[in-house]
Amino acid sequence: MAADNLVEISGVSYAYDKRHPVLTGIDMVIPRGQVVAIMGISGSGKTTLLRLIAGWFKPTRGSVRVNGQLIHELDHEGLYRMRRRMGMLFQFGALFTDLSVFDNVAFQIREHTDLPEAMIRDIVMMKLQAVGLRGAHALMPSELSGGMARRVALARATALDPMLIMYDEPFTGLDPISLGVIRNLVKKLNDALGSTSIVVTHDVQEALDIVDYVYYLSEGVMVAHGTPEQMRASKDPLVHQFVWGEADGPVAFQYPSRNFSEELGLV
């Protein structure tokens, strides 16, 4: 495998049960140092793909390599060793509600290292400074706004300088200012830490501004991929509808149903 790809997925299929495949025949590569987006409408299998990369699920077919290792063949210990080098930002932050902002960011460092408390403090403050929340270190998660919680979660996810940062819908439900802040942080942290980032999202315009490459999923199949410019210029009706947010197109506005006239008893 090429050493410059951090993640390599080939021929991956996944199904929770045999009749309903979630992903079919996915091939993708994520080069080191890049920010890559996985896009698609809700229910297209994006989050499942992210969880396959994190070793949460095992693919029904195909292989997922992270940093040269087949992640689905690692044992519990090997998987945990790999995860120490990964960070994930969950959709709503998933901060530990019984710990302060400081302790949330320090959590991983305390669990995995024997560093003295003074050094942990320095690292945590640096991480919080990077997301602009050093002054909020003593607050509890319940005292934070949605955008702040997500920034703290980002500081926590990057606490051990991961090689791979995964974002699960990082822009959902944020006001425009917080959204801009998070968007810029994704790019800035990726470059500053020398990491690789995967952003799973359906917020097209925000993502297209910061990512290097886009994979587009529809109903579990990889239907298009390319640079943001290629995606914007795409003539593929599915991609076009998605990128420009059109209500009707290949993805129908109406949920499948019987004929409307029949429904109203007119025929």
């Binding site: 995860r83 994930m88 709503f92 669990e111």
Partner: protein, 265 residues
């Protein structure tokens, strides 16, 4: 010929039976995992101490107050019954044995299930619903070792202590009513109690009961929380199931343990 409705009913019964067996299997596996991942809790006792505060110390008020009232009621009722046979002086024995053998372990376990067990289920269920457990797993920290095992051991340690407090408070309640209010002779109240209560037969058996109840309640509460569907209804359903299942388990286990312990008496 069977009609369609009957077939569906039979199928549903089968489904439920299979589901129950599967869940029991999961619960057993969960219990084994909890024990296997307990190392962290003992290497870092501070994790257990924190949970001891939440499950044990915060349950003390309800346990002490209930113990006092149960003891006082025993004082009244016992006196009424014993008076008929002219043996009021045996009130101390009646109060102490009822509490140490039965009411202490059983009532305090029932209270523990509704006070601490429901809180554990709701907390873990919500941690799961808000992806805190997933986040922990993603940080290569095993939630069973970090969240479940310390709570389990805190429950197992605090249950016998709470039962002992319940019994002590109950004996004091019985004394208040029997001796101070009604006027039973103080000397015979304490002396008869002392001579009739056996350390091995009564106190140790009571402690064994409360340890078993502690294991059962905490296991059920933690499993229900860990297994709860990550929705509002899921967590509320799991909390209810914790209280109902652990109460039934306490009463069932109490019968079995009593039958085993006191059959010769």
């Amino acid at each position: 010929m069977f009609n369609r409705g009957a077939i569906i009913n039979v199928r549903n019964v089968g489904h439920r039976a299979i589901d129950s067996v599967l869940r029991l299997g999961y619960a057993a596996r969960f219990f084994a995992l909890t024990l296997a991942h307990s190392g962290t809790s003992f290497r870092r006792p501070r994790l257990i101490v924190r949970e001891l505060y939440f499950t044990g110390v915060l349950s003390m008020i309800i346990i002490l107050v209930s113990g006092l009232f149960v003891g006082m009621v025993l004082g009244f009722q016992g006196y009424q019954t014993l008076k008929t046979y002219g043996s009021e002086s045996a009130l101390g024995i009646l109060v102490a044995l009822s509490l140490v053998r039965e009411l202490g372990p059983v009532v305090s376990a029932l209270l523990f299930a509704s006070r601490a067990g429901s809180a554990m289920t709701a907390e873990i269920g919500l941690m799961k619903a808000t992806e805190q457990l997933s986040a922990m797993e993603m940080m290569a920290v095993d939630p069973i070792a970090r969240v479940v095992a310390p709570r389990f051991w805190a429950g197992v340690i605090s249950m016998p202590l709470l039962a002992a407090m319940f019994s002590a408070m109950g004996v004091y309640g019985g004394y208040l009513i029997g001796v101070v209010v009604i006027g039973v002779d103080e000397g015979s109240f304490w002396a008869q109690m002392q001579s009739a209560v056996d350390f091995r037969e009564d106190i140790v058996n009571g402690v064994i009961k409360s340890i078993v109840f502690g294991i059962a309640v905490t296991w059920i509460a933690l499993f229900e929380g860990y297994d709860a569907p990550p929705t509002a209804e899921g967590v509320s359903g799991a909390t209810t199931r914790t209280v109902v299942t652990s109460s039934l388990a306490i009463l069932g286990l109490d019968f079995i343990l009593t039958a085993l312990m006191f059959r010769g008496i």
